[in-house]
């Protein structure tokens, strides 16, 4: 009974910050003060810029003019009625669909392959990871050199069979080439995530399936995939978010061309913000991207939860 009284006496001020503590009034709890620095940091680096972005999306905010002025929905109207905006989203969708499909196919396949390797598993995994350590700008430069029609390796190989190529300057090949560069760089990330998922598989379940006479393919379909499905979804989500803001390689290789064929939404945003210096429209564009990202994220989470149920 005495103990109960002590506990209650200790708990009360924590639960009701702003009430009496040891006979005097305490406005804020200790936890609040401990969290305050990180809350300020969060406000400065995340919440304030976000709110400012919303504010900027309703302003005529161009560096060539004086102070920003309120222009209502004009930026939104400009962004949403622009053909380039929708075309860029279309290209982003193609890019995401093709790129992600390839990355998932190769990445998951490679993870499964490395997982069953009897030896040198770590060495192969490390070698496979190398593209991940290369900066996207460098990937763009590498791609540009390899695909250069004057001295590039691929142009030289094609010439051996009598074909003149111009990969980055051709509307039908520029985007696929950039997708392949992206696949080269980011597939190892999928492999790494899925491989980590595979390593956490319960041995007993796999052994039980094996004892029951299930072959590798059946174990893969009925045991392994269901168990790692959430890990795969997570990898997919991470890459999806990444692809939406993809810019670097395009900037280095094609500048969005030829004929806008590689202008994805991230590049369009960068162009409006930094080339046109039209920060109002860029803010509206950025917010539209945010809405899509949140929507996709929610769908993924919902899908994952469905799996759990």
């Amino acid at each position: 009974m005495r103990l109960d009284i002590k506990v209650n006496a200790y708990r009360k001020p924590l639960e009701t910050a702003g009430t009496l503590v040891h006979g005097r009034r305490k406005k804020w709890s200790t936890e609040f003060w401990m969290l305050l620095p990180s809350m300020i940091l969060l406000a400065v680096i995340s919440i304030f810029p976000f709110l400012y972005m919303i504010y900027a999306s309703f302003m005529d905010y161009s560096l060539s003019f004086d102070e920003p002025t309120f222009n209502g929905m004009k930026n939104w109207e400009k962004v949403l009625t622009n053909d380039t905006f929708w075309a860029s989203w279309g290209r982003t969708a193609v890019y995401a669909l093709c790129g992600l499909s390839l990355e998932m196919l190769i990445g998951v396949g490679m993870a499964l392959l490395i997982y069953v390797l009897p030896k040198a598993r770590n060495l192969i995994l490390t070698l496979w990871m190398i593209p991940l350590f290369v900066a996207p700008v460098v990937v763009g430069l590498l791609g540009r050199f390899l695909l250069n029609s004057t001295y590039g390796l691929y142009a030289w190989l094609f010439r051996l069979i009598g074909v003149e190529t111009e990969i980055l300057g051709n509307v039908s090949t520029a985007l696929p080439a950039i997708i392949l560069m992206d696949v080269w760089e980011w597939t190892p990330l999928i492999t790494m995530i899925v491989f980590a998922g595979l390593q956490s598989l319960p041995e007993e379940v796999l052994e039980a399936a094996e004892v029951d006479g299930a072959g590798y393919v059946r174990r893969l379909i009925h045991v392994i995939f269901p168990l790692i499905s959430r890990t795969i979804l997570l990898a997919l989500l991470i890459r999806m978010m990444d692809i939406l803001r993809f810019v670097d390689t395009i900037k280095i290789t094609t500048e969005g061309g030829p004929a806008d064929s590689t202008k994805v939404i991230g590049y369009h945003l960068m162009e409006v913000a930094f080339r046109f210096q039209d920060f109002g429209s860029a803010a509206a564009l950025g917010l539209s991207m945010l809405v899509v990202t949140i929507f996709l994220g929610q769908q993924f989470v919902r899908f994952m939860r469905k799996g759990e149920e």
């Binding site: 560096l63 060539s64 004057t150 003149e164 111009e166 980055l168 300057g169 509307v171």
Partner: protein, 513 residues
Amino acid sequence: MKRRTVFQITALVLVIIMFTGACSSEAPIDTKSKNADKINPNKLVDAPFEGWVEGLPKIQAPEGFDWKQFKGVQINVISENTPPSSALAANIEKFEKVTGIKVNIEQSDLGTVVEKVGLDFNAKSAKYHVIYADPYQILAKYSEHFVDLNLFNKEPTMPHIPGGLEDFVPTQLEVLGYMGNKEKLLALPYDNPTMVLAYRKDVFEKYKDLFMKEKGYDWTPRPGMTWDQYYDIAKWINQKVKEGVITEVKYGTGHQAKQYDSLMCDFSNILAANGGDYFGRKDIGTIGTIDPGKSAMTSKQALESVKFYNQLLKEAAPGSTSWDWNGLAEAFAAGEIAMAPEWHEFSAMFENKEKSKVAGKVGWSLLPKGKVRSANIFGGTGIGINKYASDDEKKAAWLFLVWATSPQSQYMILKSDLGGSTPTRSSVYELPDVKKGMEPGTKESEEMPNLLSMKSVLKAWEAENAYMRPKIPQWPQIDTYVFTELSKMIAGKQSPEQTVKAITEMVDEATGN
């Protein structure tokens, strides 16, 4: 005092500070030398730089001027990664030794420079004290953020521009130094690449008779050659390459038609040669304006030029659609192309035996004539001072400007292995060795290979042959519209008619007309 009262007083003080800050006018710049009282402005003394070149105006300061008065001041220079900046960076100790000023030169591609300068100006900060003031992408848009250099040049206690403003090429000074009017001098000419025609002398000499026999005229590139002839020659070379007659090159022509600024430059040569332009106003390319009026891309000349460019690109090397000026230069240096409109400063690269297969085989000429004239786009840039820098930094930056744009430094840049750029000073072109360097095969031309293109460039700088694109604040946007729509046309996505219509609509929207 209660905490709430303290908070209220602090807030009130902050509001007053902000209000007075907003209302106060800009403080005048102190341009005087630190030891102004000990200076005799009536007598000029040579600056303590070494290695003066006879025949060029020297850097001078009024008697008593202390060149070390800004010792310890650091100035940051932002520049495009062009030859002059590389050459200055390599020789910066010459300036630092005399002045004690530390200079950090940051070089990036032009797009990055434009972004960084824009952000610096927007924040009204002075991370960069000396700005590479590209007239179309920086000066036109941010002219209000530059220091008026007249204030320093007319200050009796400071060093002045050696040789005077009249030593700069007048048109170049107008384009690179002013915006809207000539009241304020915002930048000093710093580099000045110009597009002219590069061609393979060996190919044109070897097949001259064959061409003459089949086509009936002398095909050697020279002033007066037309764009129609250029197209005809390119087509003929392509045909002869296919037949196996010509083996020295793979294509008659190559262009810088990547969806980029280079495509606009490449096309502008033809547009202006046919008497067209992006806007109707005549002084728009030199002094510049904030009100360009309606787009002139609806003109007959514009449509003809777009049609011709589309046709020409069908005969160009296929790589053209992915080449900017660098890509085109690499292809030309690799020996793939017989002729190409290119920035003249690539002459140094073409003559470099380690980087080029065409060293000693390159000729230069004015760009072909269109319906009206030969138009050679000018791409120079000036350097100016950020007005948000402190007074000491501004003065230190002025000393840097005086040194960097002086005839002596311009000559040094011309001779530098890292630079090899083109002097912006008329006096440099009067030097005997510079004159000799313009002749192929001379020792001087080997030392200063950019001079091999200079005869054509000097012609290109004459008012009737030069083309200056519009100098207006909206230019980065309009430039993007122009090259994007042209790229769509070249890729077969739209017709020339649709292209001019799209450009016109977008340009008028951007300029509010």
